[in-house]
C-alpha cells in the first residue's frame, strides 16, 4: 500500500511540474462552463420558465454540477497509457513489482484530488461572479447516493480509458485517434457534459441511456438534483455497478489478448 501512496505523492508533484499545462486545462474547463452557463441563462431568462422538466435553479445547478463532476470523473492521467503501449514503455512497468492498473488508478486519483481542489476554487469564484440560483441538496441519503454514483462514474471512466488505450497493441498509430473518437467526441456528446440527456427526443433518450456514457456526468447530477429517487435510484445505481463489472471484465479480456501480441516496439 505504501508504494501506491508514494506513487500518489510523486504524481501529485508531477502535475505541478507542468504548471502551464495544468492551468490551461483548468482555464478551458471554465470557458466551457461560460458557454453552457450563458446558453441556459439566456433560455431561462424568465425565472418562472420550465423547459425539459428543469426550472432556472435546477438547470444552472446542473451547469455548475458539471464543473465539479468533470473534475472528479474526467480528470485522469490514464489517457497516457496508449502512449506507453505504442512506444513500448509498457515493458518497464511489466518488469516492476507493481500492478499496472493500480499504478494508473493511483495516478488518476492524484489527478482528481488536484483538479477537484481547483474546481472548488473556480466554482466559488464563478458562483460569486455569476450569482446563479443554486439548488442545495440537503437530503443525506441522496447525497450518499450521489457520492456512490461518482465512485461508479470514476470506475466506468477508468475502464473505458484502458479499453481505448489497448488499441495500440494492434495499431500503434491509432492510439490518439481512438481517444479522440471515444474519450473526447463520444463522451462530450453523451455523458451529459454539454447538455442534459433528457433534452433529447424521447425516442433517442433510451438509446443513449443504454450506453455507459451518461453514468459519467448526467446520472450523478440527476441523482444530486433528486430527479432519481426510490426504486429508480436503486435500479440506476445497480445498472451503474453492472456497467463497472461488465467493462472491467471486457477491459481485462482485451488487455490479456493485447499483452499476448505486445512486441515492445521501439525498445
Amino acid at each position: 500500500m505504501n508504494k501506491y501512496w508514494q506513487i500518489f505523492k510523486i504524481s501529485f508533484q508531477q502535475e505541478f511540474a507542468y504548471k502551464v499545462n495544468f492551468i490551461m486545462w483548468r482555464v478551458r474547463n471554465v470557458f466551457q462552463i461560460f458557454l453552457i452557463f450563458f446558453l441556459w441563462d439566456s433560455i431561462f431568462s424568465d425565472p418562472g420558465r420550465v423547459v425539459f422538466g428543469y426550472d432556472r435553479a435546477k438547470i444552472l445547478t446542473y451547469v455548475f454540477g458539471v464543473l465539479i463532476v468533470r473534475a472528479l470523473v474526467l480528470s485522469a492521467r490514464a489517457v497516457d497509457v496508449s502512449a506507453d503501449v505504442a512506444k513500448g514503455d509498457l515493458s518497464n512497468y511489466l518488469l516492476k513489482p507493481i500492478s499496472y492498473f493500480k499504478y494508473w488508478f493511483t495516478r488518476d486519483i492524484s489527478s482528481k484530488a488536484l483538479n477537484i481542489s481547483f474546481a472548488i476554487g473556480e466554482f466559488t469564484l464563478l458562483f460569486l461572479i455569476l450569482k446563479p440560483p443554486f439548488f442545495f441538496q440537503l437530503d443525506p441519503l441522496i447525497l450518499i447516493a450521489f457520492l456512490a454514483s461518482i465512485v461508479i462514474a470514476i470506475f466506468i471512466y477508468f475502464n473505458l480509458l484502458f479499453m481505448v488505450s489497448a488499441i495500440p497493441f494492434w495499431a500503434p498509430e491509432l492510439g490518439w485517434g481512438g481517444h479522440f473518437l471515444v474519450t473526447i467526441i463520444m463522451i462530450e456528446a453523451f455523458s451529459g457534459a454539454l447538455f442534459p440527456i433528457n433534452i433529447l427526443p424521447a425516442s433517442i433518450q433510451p438509446i443513449v441511456l443504454a450506453t455507459p456514457f451518461p453514468y459519467l456526468i448526467y446520472i450523478p447530477i440527476q441523482v444530486y438534483l433528486g430527479n432519481v429517487t426510490g426504486i429508480a435510484l436503486f435500479r440506476t445505481l445497480f445498472l451503474g455497478v453492472s456497467w463497472c463489472v461488465a467493462l472491467w471484465l471486457a477491459m481485462n479480456n482485451i488487455w490479456q489478448r493485447g499483452i499476448r501480441v505486445y512486441e515492445s516496439i521501439g525498445r
Partner: protein, 242 residues
C-alpha cells in the same frame, strides 16, 4: 500512404464530422423545445452555429502550420525558413494545409446555403454576409499572426492558440446571450462578435452599411497591426537553439 495512416485520417475525419453533427442536433433539439434563443428563432440560431463553423474550419484548414510552429522555433529550424527566398510569415502561417478540414468544407457550405436560404435574404444581405465573412477571416488571420509573433518572443504557441480557439468557440451562439462585461470583451477585445455573430446578423438584415464598413475597417487595421507586431517579433528572434 500506409493503411494505418489512412485509418488514422479516417478516424479524425469521422470524429470531426460526429462532433459537428452532435452539436448541431443538440442545438436543434434544444431549440425545438425552447423555440427561441436570445430572441432568435431556430433557423437563425442554427445559422450562427454554421457561420462559426465556416470561420473555424477555414482558418484551421489554412493555418494548420501555426500549430507546428513551436518545434520550429525551439529547435532553431526556423533559421532555414528565414534563409529561403520565401516570405517567412507566409511559410509559417500557410505552409501546411489540413486535408481533413478541406474534406469537411463542401458539406458545411451546403449546410450554410440550405439553412441560409430559409432566412430569405435579399442579394444585398448575401453580399454583406460574404463581405463580413471575409472580414472574419481577416481578423482570424490577424490573431494567428499575433500568436506566431508571441511564439517567437515567448516560445509559447500551443496554449495561446488553444485559448484563442476556446474564445472563438463562444461564438457558436450569438454573443447576445452573454452578459456584460463578457459581451463587450467578445465584441471589442477578442472580437468574436465581429468575426462570427456580425456576418450572420448581416444575412438576417440586422446590420447597417455603416456597421459593415466599420467592421471591415477594424479587420484591415487588425491585420496591419498584426503584421507590424510580426516584424517587431522577428527582430527579437535569437535563433538560440541552432
Amino acid at each position: 500512404m500506409v493503411i494505418s495512416q489512412k485509418l488514422a485520417l479516417s478516424i479524425f475525419l469521422v470524429g470531426k464530422v460526429l462532433r459537428f453533427t452532435f452539436f448541431f442536433f443538440f442545438l436543434f433539439f434544444l431549440l425545438a423545445g425552447t423555440k427561441t434563443l436570445a430572441g432568435y428563432e431556430v433557423n437563425q440560431a442554427l445559422f450562427f452555429f454554421l457561420t462559426f463553423n465556416v470561420i473555424d474550419v477555414i482558418t484551421q484548414f489554412i493555418f494548420r502550420e501555426v500549430y507546428r510552429f513551436r518545434p520550429m522555433i525551439v529547435s532553431g529550424e526556423f533559421d532555414y525558413v528565414l534563409a529561403k527566398p520565401l516570405n517567412p510569415l507566409f511559410r509559417v502561417l500557410m505552409g501546411g494545409a489540413d486535408v481533413i478540414d478541406l474534406i469537411t468544407i463542401p458539406p458545411l457550405f451546403f449546410a450554410v446555403w440550405f439553412i441560409g436560404a430559409k432566412l430569405s435574404p435579399d442579394p444585398l444581405q448575401i453580399f454583406y454576409y460574404l463581405l463580413l465573412l471575409i472580414n472574419g477571416l481577416l481578423i482570424a488571420t490577424a490573431f494567428h499572426i499575433i500568436v506566431l509573433s508571441m511564439g517567437i518572443i515567448t516560445l509559447e504557441i500551443d496554449h495561446t492558440i488553444i485559448i484563442y480557439r476556446d474564445m472563438t468557440s463562444l461564438g457558436r451562439f450569438p454573443i447576445d446571450i452573454y452578459k456584460q462585461p463578457l459581451q463587450g470583451f467578445l465584441t471589442y477585445l477578442i472580437p468574436v462578435g465581429l468575426m462570427i455573430t456580425l456576418p450572420a446578423k448581416a444575412l438576417m438584415g440586422l446590420v447597417s452599411p455603416v456597421g459593415v464598413a466599420s467592421s471591415f475597417a477594424f479587420g484591415l487595421v487588425a491585420v496591419f497591426v498584426a503584421v507590424r507586431f510580426w516584424n517587431f517579433a522577428l527582430k527579437k528572434y535569437s535563433s538560440a537553439s541552432s
